[in-house]
């Protein structure tokens, strides 16, 4: 789902940078208010933890594989601001230190994958747990957060030819509109979301059985 550099127009990435930086500062301030100076060590280890979660890959038939995001686990266990700030830190370090992802696509990835993913995961779990078994709520949370993130990324990609084209109407960045971009991103994630959901439930069960979470 990560978008490389060069596919997003400045008309999109500049306003998204403004929004994303605002959200990160607000999230960080909220954490600092709750944790005080302890927020530095907590965020650093949780960033490293989410880095590991994002590196977990499940092989699929046909030689392909799917990697999870781990955002649901972090968001439900630690809260969506913690999840958003720590995973955004990872995406930032990946983009500017490891050269993975992209500097121009960072805010899109950060808002799409991390912010939307974290908020959706947190609220889905907390709403669904009132009506269904917590394991099902956890699965729904993992599946839905990944798919709504994918929908957002597909929407942003589909927006590119609409807002960035030359005088003859030729696209200048990502070439496909909503009709192609959204299903192309969303359909594989409908299946990837199943793996995310299963892994999230598995982790939740393990933590619950060992008394490591009271969620």
């Amino acid at each position: 789902m990560h978008i490389p550099d060069g596919f997003i127009a400045p008309q999109v990435y500049i306003p998204m940078y403004i929004v994303d930086i605002g959200l990160i500062i607000y999230g960080f301030k909220k954490l600092k208010d709750n944790l005080g100076k302890e927020s530095f060590p907590t965020l650093s280890v949780l960033s490293a933890l989410s880095f590991v979660l994002m590196a977990i890959t499940f092989p699929l038939p046909g030689g392909t594989s799917v990697h999870i995001t781990g955002i649901t686990i972090l968001s439900v266990l630690k809260g969506y601001w913690v999840s958003f700030v720590s995973v955004s830190l990872v995406l930032f370090i990946q983009a500017v230190v490891f050269g993975e992802g992209g500097v121009t696509s960072f805010p899109v990835n950060s808002i799409g994958i991390t912010f939307i993913g974290s908020v959706v995961a947190y609220y889905t779990f907390n709403i669904f747990k009132r009506f269904v078994n917590r394991n099902i709520a956890m699965f729904m949370s993992g599946w839905l957060s990944l798919n709504l993130s994918a929908l957002f990324i597909g929407f942003i990609l589909g927006l590119q030819p609409v807002i960035a084209h030359d005088v003859s109407g030729k696209p200048l960045f990502f070439p496909f509109g909503f009709g192609i971009a959204v299903p192309a991103i969303l359909i594989p994630h409908l299946f990837a979301g199943l793996i995310e959901g299963i892994y999230t439930v598995f982790i939740y069960k393990v933590l619950k059985s060992k008394g490591l979470t009271d969620v």
């Binding site: 550099d5 499940f58 500017v96 696209p171």
Partner: protein, 179 residues
């Protein structure tokens, strides 16, 4: 200050590359960066191509399949992505990001701490994966992977709790929490 200027120059060039839609401009930028990076030229070329190959191939082939072969668009898009990636790989090898962002003590502290933790976790995670590979003689089932990565998560969660306390104690003993 050198790192900060380099970062500003890099970000300005990124903005220009994404704002000027001209392949000659991209070639000019590429030529200039190539001069500065001539020692690592082939290494960077290889790394950049490898990094963008999958996404760009999918987009370029799909575009050609749907809209027909459009040389100008394909050249513009692929060259832009390639130049941006090449430049990013070159700049990140030359810049000390922590010095470049030292205008904010909080940001630098957070980045240094997170980066050091990520490097440690990354190495450990690779060792876990190597241990699995070297101890596996037949294909694993999905449930085996689930169990394995479940244990991996447990290990790292436990490590995170302990490390957070260690880092916190270390920072306190160095007077970081004294205002």
């Amino acid at each position: 200050m050198y790192d900060r200027y380099l970062l500003i120059m890099y970000l300005t060039t990124v903005f220009l590359i994404t704002s000027i839609h001209n392949i000659w401009f991209y070639l000019l930028v590429f030529q200039l960066i190539s001069i500065f990076s001539f020692k690592e030229f082939y290494k960077l070329i290889k790394k950049s191509i490898f990094s963008v190959l999958l996404f760009n191939s999918v987009v370029s082939i799909s575009h050609t399949f749907i809209n027909g072969f459009d040389k100008d668009y394909l050249l513009l898009l692929n060259l832009r992505v390639f130049v941006l990636t090449y430049m990013t790989f070159f700049i990140i090898s030359k810049i000390n990001l922590f010095k470049a962002l030292s205008f904010s003590k909080n940001l630098t502290t957070l980045l240094v701490l997170s980066y050091s933790q990520i490097l440690t976790y990354k190495k450990l995670f690779e060792e876990f994966n190597m241990a699995l590979t070297t101890r596996t003689v037949k294909d694993l089932k999905f449930s085996d992977y689930l169990n394995f990565y479940g244990k991996v998560f447990e290990f790292f969660l436990d490590k995170s709790t302990k490390n957070a306390k260690d880092i916190s104690d270390g920072m306190r003993s160095r007077g970081f929490f004294d205002d």
